[in-house]
Structure formats: C-alpha cells, structure tokens
Amino acid sequence: MDFLLKVPRDLVFHLGRYMIMMGNVFSKPEKMRVYWKEITRQMDDIGIGSIVIVCLISIFMGAVAAIQFAYQLDGQLVPRYYIGYIVRDLAIIESAPTITCLVLAGKVGSNMAAELGGMRQKEHIDAMEIMGVNTSAFLIMPKLTAALVVIPLLVIISAFVAICGGYIATVPTGEITADDYIRGVRAFFDPHNVTMMFIKSIVFSYILTTVSCYQGYFVKGGSIELGEASTRAVVISNILILTADYVIAVLLTG
C-alpha cells in the first residue's frame, strides 16, 4: 500500500520542485553580460560540440530510409521518385527533430546533469548561493536559451543531411536516377511540415534541457548517485520526448 502511495507522492513532489526551479530560472538575471557570456559558451558546447554526431546519424538515417523505401516500392506501381518525397517528409516531420533530440538527450542532457551534479557535490552551487547568485537562473537559463536557439538549427542540418544521405544511398547505386530523387524531394511540399519540425525541435529542446538540469541540480550523495542522475536525465528525457512527439503529432496532423 505504501508503495502505491509513494509513486503519486513522488510524482507530485518532483513536479512541484521542478515548477519552483523553473520559476527561479525565468527570474531577472543579476548581470545580463555575464549570462550572455555563458549563453555563447553553451551554444558552442551544444551546437559545435554536437554537429559531427548529428550529421553522422542523420546521413545513415536518410540512407537507410531511402534503401528501405526503394525495397518496399520495388515492383509496385508507385513512381520511383516517391523515394525522394518520402525521405524528405520522414526527415522533416519525424527523424530530424525526434531522433536528433533523442541523441542529444544522451549526449548533451547527460553532460548537463553531470556538470550540475558535480557542481552540487563540490559545493560550487552552495558557494554561488551564498554570494547571492540566483543559481537556478545562472546555471540553467543560459543552457536553456542556448539549447532553444541551437537545437532547432541542428535539426535543420539533420534534415538536410538525411535527404543527402538518401541521395547518396540510392542514386550512385542505381536504385533511382538523380533527376527522379530531386523531383521527389521537390514534390508535394507542404510548409506546415517545416512548422511542425520547428515546434517539435523547440518542445524537445525544452524537455531535454530542463529535465537534465533538474536531475543534476538536485543531486544528493556521491559519484554513484551522480551516475544515476545522469542516466535518469537521459531516460526521462527520452520518454517525455516520445510522449510529446505523439501529442504534437495528434494535435498538428488532426
């Protein structure tokens, strides 16, 4: 019985603490110049630091999608140029925002949780608190701002690279001609899909940043607990990203 009560009680506790933390994150910065310096550092960390892994994953994502569709369409009456069309829409609507953010939750999210957790354990956060710094704002707001700016840009790159990946996988191998692939990529374009991609990337960036920072900021104990917090940051971010993906899909395609 106690266990049954513990789950909703913990959920309410964490939700409440998360809301209070976010309230502090959005309070007025002490010194905008110091925050701006931190935002640019985080942009560099998240953006430049993740560009290689995002490109690598996206190129294979596009390549595999193109080959799979080429295989599925083999012998069907569906025109071959549909491969380009399907790869483009799959990249824009789903794979670029979702897969990129799932990967970033693993790379950037765990890094944020470990960084803040380490600062908590080494009393850096206490030291800042005693100086009078609003630590939630100073440590989390620059990460969140940087993520909200940089991750959508990474998603655009991811979508572009995935479409290129589809081209590389199908055109040189003779599955489809270059003209057909490009015709497919240009066919039936709906700008609403791009809007959906941006909405998803912003929502997912918010989730992965705030959840990871929450896990790191309130870490207690030693290195084992820090490792657990880092893992929890990735697992919870991924679950929430996939849930949000479903909700956005229902809302924006209904």
Binding site: E30, K31, R33, V34, K122, E123, H124, D126, A127, E129, I130, M131, G132, V133, N134, F138
Partner: protein, 255 residues
C-alpha cells in the same frame, strides 16, 4: 552580530539540533567546535540559510533572516563571504576569474578596477602573481587562501568558514588561522568558524561554543578552555593522554 535563537533541526525522525541559542559577536572569531556528527555543519548551513531550521530564528543585526523572502535573503548574502571545506573554487576558471566572479555578478566596476581589487585580495592572502593559475595547479593551502580572497572580495560584514584547516599541515593551518583572525580584526567583521582543529581553538578562539549531541555543551573563550571543569569539553579538547599531560603541565605552570 549574528544571533541564533532556539534553533531546532530534524531530518525525518533524527533530531540534529536541539534548542541552540548562540550569539556571534562582531570583530570576534567565533568558533563552533564539536565531534563529527555533533551538528556543526548543519548549524553553519542554517546560519547562512542553506538549510531552514525546523524551528527557531537567525538574526543578522536584528533582521530575522529566517523570515525573509528570497530577494531580501540575496541582499543579505551579498554581505556574506564563505570559505568552504573543499574551497569550492570553480575548476574551469583561473584564480583571478574565481575571485573576480562576485565582482562580475554584482558590481558595475570596469575590468581595470576589478583587476585592481582582485590583486589587492591576492596580496592580502600572500598569493600575488597567481592570477592565471587554475585551482588544479595550486596546493590545498593555496586553494584555501584563494577561497578566502574570493570570500572577502566584496568586503563582507560576515565571514563563515567551514573547517578551514581540514587537510592542511599544522604550519599552513596556523597561517590560515592567522589570516582569518587578521581579516576579522582589520575589517571588524563577524566571523564564524566551524572547526575541530585544536590549534585553532587555542590560537584564535575569541568566543567558542561546543556542540555535543545537538546541544550547546559549553561556551567560553580560548583562555577558559584550559581551566574549565566541563567534562565534555575536556574529553573533546584533551582527548589523548598526551594532551591531558600537556594540560596538567600548563595548569601547573599557571599556578
């Protein structure tokens, strides 16, 4: 002056502090001593507001600190400097950047003025010329001194030190003690030191409070430590037979 009034603190079922009332005077080095687990760190964290007491109040010059809203707490904290047990220096910043951090956050000084103030503080802790070193490149004693420099950079009215001598050799410990005492006297600030270093007790203990099982077991100063009959105090300070013989010898000399 800082005053703790009837402080109680519990963690779940465990009562860590039981009715602590203490006054920490301005211009004095006020020591909180006691065995590990006596509640020293919890009391210090309550005094600086990192923990909330279960009951009781903390006053900073007649302002009830425990009742203040977040904004007012931050205003008071800008008058507070703290030296942490592990120094808590930011690893990714140089010594200069560490000390400059509070100036960057809370002042409108130019970079030149900030550097001047940083150099003054470094000079005060005998570390001039260490500006560009990273915390990992300096010794534990030097890290403590950088921690002190950072704590005093905004000219605090209250200075808190959590185990300032832990992990340091006796000679360096003495230097740190002298530095803290001198800074306290020069700036007429209220300094509270949480320690179980007996050298500190006998050298800089202007005012000493002994915590035992969450209660204040004894209060006095460094001169009264030798003569007090309090068994808990004697059992704590002169724990080994060697120290007991030293005490007896010292008392014999006094007579």
């Amino acid at each position: 002056m800082i005053r703790a009034e009837n402080i109680f603190k519990s963690f779940g079922e465990t009562e860590v502090l039981k009715d602590i009332s203490l006054e920490f005077k301005k211009g004095h080095t006020n020591l909180i001593i006691g065995r590990s687990g006596a509640g020293k760190t919890v009391l210090l964290k309550i005094l600086v507001g990192l923990l909330h007491p279960t009951d009781g109040s903390v006053y900073y010059d007649d302002v009830n600190f425990t009742q203040l809203d977040k904004k007012s707490v931050r205003e008071i904290r800008m008058k507070v400097g703290m030296l942490f047990q592990g120094s808590a220096l930011f690893d990714s910043m140089t010594v200069e950047e560490n000390i400059r951090f509070p100036l960057d956050m809370f002042t409108n000084l130019t970079l030149k003025e900030k550097r001047k103030r940083v150099n003054e503080c470094l000079e005060r802790v005998n570390l001039d010329g260490s500006n560009d070193k990273f915390p990992s490149e300096i010794s534990g004693g030097m890290q403590k001194r950088v921690g002190i420099a950072r704590a005093i950079v905004l000219n605090p009215q209250y200075l808190f030190c959590d185990e300032p001598n832990s992990g340091l050799d006796p000679k360096t410990s003495l230097l740190i003690d002298e530095l803290i005492r001198d800074i306290t006297l020069e700036n007429n600030i209220t300094t509270i030191i949480n320690t179980h270093d007996m050298n500190s007790v006998m050298e800089i203990g202007d005012s000493i409070a002994l915590l035992y099982e969450g209660k204040v077991a004894w209060q006095g100063n460094k001169d009264e430590v030798l003569t007090s009959d309090n068994e808990i105090l004697q059992g704590f300070i002169f724990a080994s037979p060697f120290l007991q013989r030293l005490r007896e010898a010292a008392l014999g000399n006094q007579q």
